[in-house]
């Protein structure tokens, strides 16, 4: 057996040293993500929707609650989007009214209301996903890492919370404590992290058996440090993917609640509430349904494509 002296090993290694800039797994994933056209396109679309929600108020010429008395009473004829204005209809031109998306049944500016609805819906989705990511990941990682009796107790709590019909509880909460955005967030926060906790726990169970975790335990690293430095960063790929898929489902929950007439309170609105009102008017003013529906559908599709792209980028093995 030819034995190499350790002194010369350094020189052989110098030649085989990795070239180019350091590639972390995150950098690799980013490169893979940007090769996925659908995902990049949906990221751009979501950026536009977010910009619409953020900068829309600067463009809107009316507040969400002012009633345009000139149109009220004749909404069916004159309330349409102003860019459709022409000689064969009664819609006032944009330079006059500024109702880019038309008005709703109460002759309030639909553009301003859509901007405001987008803000609420996106916020609900993002807050729900954030709660899920922070609470669910830590809860699942702690449960899975320590295992044994603690794991049993923590997971049974999740099971019990999951067995409660959340929609019923959410509706009760909104009825008992009054309809407010805060109550909506509380309700969504209560349920959104449960699935995430299970997913994080499952992943942690397999990560705990990995040798690098054992190496950290053998070294004497504190358990909470192991969870934060070794478990959570390796969970994050799955967690991010699940979170992007969770945003649209949170938006759907909220929309459903608002569609039922609970949820956000007038004059505030959300996509669900706007779609509900639009559906009532769909025979006379189809635009009232189509405008919020367009934003809703486009955003949900984008979130799903984004989630797909992230999944392909972050764990290329389980495609």
């Amino acid at each position: 057996m030819a034995m190499f002296a350790t002194g010369t090993a350094a020189e052989t290694l110098a030649q085989s040293a990795p070239m180019g800039p350091p590639r972390s797994l995150w950098a690799d994933a980013r490169a893979r993500f940007f090769r996925n056209r659908a995902a990049v396109a949906s990221l751009i679309v979501l950026g536009l929707v977010a910009a619409f929600a953020l900068f829309g108020p600067l463009v809107a010429r009316h507040s969400i609650e002012t009633i345009d008395w000139a149109i009220l009473g004749n909404v069916d004829e004159a309330g349409g989007p102003c860019f459709l204005s022409g000689p064969d209809n009664e819609i006032p031109p944009c330079s006059d009214s500024g109702h880019y998306f038309g008005t709703d049944a109460q002759a309030r500016d639909l553009f301003a209301r859509t901007v405001q609805g987008t803000q609420i819906s996106l916020m609900v989705g993002v807050v729900g996903a954030l709660i899920a990511v922070v609470v669910g990941t830590l809860y699942g990682a702690i449960s899975g890492y320590f295992g044994g009796r603690l794991d049993n107790v923590m997971m049974r709590i999740v099971d019990i919370l999951m067995s409660i019909p959340y929609m019923f509880v959410l509706i009760l909460l909104l009825v008992v404590f009054g309809r407010s955005i805060l109550m909506l967030f509380v309700g969504i926060g209560l349920i959104s992290w449960l699935d995430m906790a299970r997913i994080a726990r499952g992943q942690t169970l397999s990560l705990r058996e990995k040798e690098f975790v054992e190496a950290a335990i053998a070294t004497g690293v504190h358990p909470f440090r192991i969870i934060l430095r070794h478990i959570v960063p390796n969970l994050l790929g799955v967690v991010i993917v699940y979170a992007t898929l969770l945003v649209p489902s949170m938006i759907i929950y909220e929309s459903f609640i608002s569609f039922l007439g609970l949820g956000v309170q007038e004059p505030l609105t959300s996509w669900g509430a706007l779609i509900n009102e639009g559906a009532d008017q769909m025979r006379q003013g189809l635009w009232m349904l189509l405008v919020p529906l367009f934003f809703f559908v486009v955003s949900l599709f984008s979130f799903f494509f984004l989630g797909d792209g992230l999944r392909d980028a972050l764990d290329p093995k389980d495609r």
């Binding site: 350790t6 090993a9 110098a14 085989s16 990795p18 690098f212 950290a216 070294t219 004497g220 690293v221």
Partner: protein, 336 residues
């Protein structure tokens, strides 16, 4: 060589295996992975631990490191019983005992760069060392194990297996431990890289006065690096003694079979020698044979072997064997 660093006394490790589909309160099956194992290790010494897969070598090592709780027995570190330590004391003790793993890549966190990986034990045990000083020490350690120190911000997957194992070695040595447990450190590497890593370990051992416990199933590697060798079978230590004596004049029939299974790189010699091939498979550790656990596969087994577990008894200077009939092995084999 005289000072005893580590003494393992009658160490038992048991795993509870829950019955499939059983109710939670039914008693699980118990698997005795290590049974009444004794080891001693002097300062600066290398102890080779050999045995086939499932013999409990790695479990014994993990019980010494502290990632597995032993069910009985004692692990004495300079006379202090580690099994009585609180979790915090045990963690602090990690500074003195480090471990090198079999799969070099799996032992490195893929989300951390090499500098962070190697610095972790230092950050854990010597938090008073500042970030710049820590980086300098990591660089020095990387140079000592044959890695370029400017690769600190690289990630593990950018390195080859041998380089990853060097990273693992650097991480194990950064706190200047007294004992390093190598769990099959070269089994996953190419033969030429194996030699590099083994030689590196040997050189660092001399430099730093380390004690090593070297686990392997490859006897030719163990013979090369060890001062003493212990042979394990089904969680029991079968034979223990100086490396030269165990490999040249093996006393236990199991050790003889292990040694004869190492191929000789000479076809003529290989053909002419007598090889006692072991019959059968390793028995299930859930239900080990009574008395001597090796009797089901032993060429010289007799009825009395089933009665009681044979104790380790001397077969030569510092050479112990757990077989009362070890003098007869030779006679039986030549008669065949």
């Amino acid at each position: 060589m005289s000072e005893t660093l580590l003494r393992v006394e009658k160490l038992d490790v048991t795993f509870a295996i829950p019955k499939r589909g059983a109710l939670p309160w039914t008693k699980p099956h118990y698997l005795q992975a290590v049974s009444k194992a004794d080891l001693t290790l002097a300062r600066g010494e290398t102890l080779g631990l050999v045995g086939e897969s499932g013999s409990g070598k790695s479990t014994l090592a993990r019980a010494i490191v502290g990632t597995i709780r032993p069910a009985g027995g004692r692990v004495l570190w300079r006379g202090q019983d580690l099994t009585q330590y609180t979790p915090a004391q045990r963690r602090a003790h990690g500074r003195h005992v480090q471990m090198i793993f079999q799969d070099p890549l799996a032992a490195l966190n893929p989300r951390m760069n090499v500098g962070q990986i190697i610095a972790e034990p230092l950050a854990t045990h010597r938090p008073e060392i500042g970030a710049t000083d820590r980086r300098r020490r990591v660089g020095e350690m990387m140079e000592r194990v044959g890695l370029l120190p400017n690769l600190q911000n690289r990630y593990p997957h950018e390195f080859s297996g041998g380089q990853c194992q060097r990273i693992g070695i650097a991480r194990a040595l950064i706190t200047e431990p007294e004992l390093v447990i190598c769990d099959e450190p070269v089994s996953a590497l190419d033969v030429s890289v194996q030699a590099q890593v083994v030689n590196l370990l040997g050189a660092l051992q001399k430099e730093m006065g380390l004690s090593l416990i070297f686990i392997a199933h490859d006897l030719s590697v163990v013979r090369h690096v060890s001062n003493r060798i212990s042979v394990m079978y089904l969680g029991r230590i079968m034979e223990t003694g100086p490396a030269a004596a165990v490999t040249a004049t093996p006393a236990h029939p199991y050790t003889r079979a292990l040694i004869s299974s190492v191929p000789i790189p000479d076809p003529k010699l290989e053909k002419s020698r007598h090889r006692p091939i072991l019959k059968g498979e390793l028995p299930s550790p859930m239900n080990p044979p009574s008395g001597c656990v090796f009797r089901t596969r032993c060429p010289i087994a007799r009825e009395s072997c089933a009665e009681a577990r044979p104790p380790l008894e001397p077969a030569g200077p510092k050479h112990d064997v757990a077989c009362p009939y070890h003098d007869e092995v030779e006679a039986v084999e030549t008669a065949k």
